[in-house]
């Protein structure tokens, strides 16, 4: 087709939209060389740019309104996840148990208390509902730069192991630590480590 800018090239917005949204169209050769299509594309691109500005404005106009979110979250009444049931020996008279969710929350809490450590995902692998079955604990950790990782991993392993010994009857065979995220150091040193 001859490209004559004074004549409508016959391309519709749909045809250009594919090119705009996916960066490719079967018609790319024409679109890239047709002044009319290029002019329309420029219009579509500035529309998309204005759209993002508008969304930014929308968000900014909401302002920082923590009380709105407080209300939202209070209404939700989020319940923690129980997970599997872990038996505890309560003697002959009692049937005691704790939930997997409670144990994982405890692991998080022990890990979070170490400087520079924030626990991510935590998994109990093994038959936790069978008393005495070997269980391995797998923990994802986000660490702050500046804490030597082997030392941190060892401190975390032993703290988690000790706490599980005290608070549960799980037969902990291993505690696996994986550093899955690194956070930049803080400007100040609120953890008391310059």
């Amino acid at each position: 087709m001859a490209m004559n800018p004074t004549q409508d090239c016959g391309r519709r917005i749909e045809d250009l939209s594919d090119y705009l949204d996916y960066g490719y169209s079967a018609d790319s050769d024409h679109i890239e060389n047709c002044p009319q299509c290029q002019a329309r594309l420029a219009g579509l691109r500035s529309l998309s740019a204005a759209a993002l500005d508008l969304l930014d404005d929308d968000v900014a106009s909401l302002g920082d309104d923590p009380s709105w979110l407080d209300g939202m979250l209070a209404n939700l009444r989020l319940e923690t996840r129980a997970g599997r049931t872990i038996p505890l020996d309560g003697g002959d008279l009692d049937e005691l148990s704790e939930t997997e969710g409670a144990v994982i929350a405890m692991v998080r809490s022990v890990g979070d208390s170490l400087a520079g450590v924030l626990i991510g995902r935590c998994r109990l692998e093994g038959e936790v509902s069978v008393a005495g079955a070997p269980v391995e604990v797998s923990i994802h950790v986000s660490a702050r730069y500046g804490h030597p990782l082997p030392t941190l991993a060892e401190a975390l392993r032993s703290a988690v192991f000790d706490e599980l010994q005290v608070q549960t009857e799980l037969n902990v065979a291993a505690v696996h630590v994986a550093f899955t995220d690194m956070r930049p150091p803080l400007d100040e040193s609120p953890e008391g480590q310059p």
Binding site: E14, L47, L54, P66, N75, L76, S142, L186
Partner: protein, 189 residues
């Protein structure tokens, strides 16, 4: 129990994927941090999709509940923001569907409450205001397609699935919306 300052600092600086992992394990504080981080965006997006601000807040509320229930299934925690946006979109569309079933408002023009509010009219920059006004005059079905595409970044296939229409219809509605909006913005210039 009072949350120690150090711990809330750690949560506040944690990336989305770590918060999503914790939330998936049942950590309410981590989920709330995610909600605070992306709440305004969810709310703004819901307002563009819903008929009224009250309806938008209901949509966000439902979206947060759905997110809490499903967050353990999130595979890519770095994409949690886009995932939250998709949930908002689905909840908004469901709400619209329920409204139509109840009131049989199909094909009726938008009620007055989708007109720009004072705070939106204060939108800086006339190009954005022109777009804002043009957008509020679009038929709802076109506006939704456009908002899902431009604000939500969703593909034609995702939009089609969410709206329960064909991809061809999505392309058509989007093209009509874009044609109108480009024209109105050019007239403004």
């Amino acid at each position: 129990m009072k949350i120690p300052q150090d711990f809330s600092d750690k949560l506040a600086e944690a990336p989305d994927e770590v918060l999503a992992e914790r939330a998936g394990d049942g950590d309410v504080a981590a989920f709330e941090m995610l909600a605070r981080r992306h709440g305004s965006l969810m709310r703004a997006y819901a307002r563009r999709l819903a008929r009224s601000f009250d309806e938008a807040d209901d949509v966000v509320q439902e979206a947060l509940l759905t997110a809490w229930k499903d967050i353990a299934s999130v595979q890519d925690g770095t994409a949690v923001k886009a995932w939250l946006m998709r949930i908002v979109a689905h909840r908004a569309i469901d709400t619209g569907r329920r409204r139509k079933t109840h009131h049989n408002l199909d094909d009726q023009p938008d009620p007055a409450d989708s007109k720009p509010t004072p705070e939106q009219s204060a939108v800086a920059g006339s190009a954005r205001r022109a777009l804002n006004d043009a957008l509020s005059r679009l038929p709802e079905e076109q506006r939704r397609c456009w908002v899902l595409k431009e604000f939500g970044g969703q593909s034609y296939g995702e939009i089609a699935e969410a709206l329960g229409i064909s991809e061809t219809s999505v392309r058509g509605r989007l093209a009509r919306a874009r044609t109108t909006l480009v024209k109105e913005m050019e007239e403004w210039r």
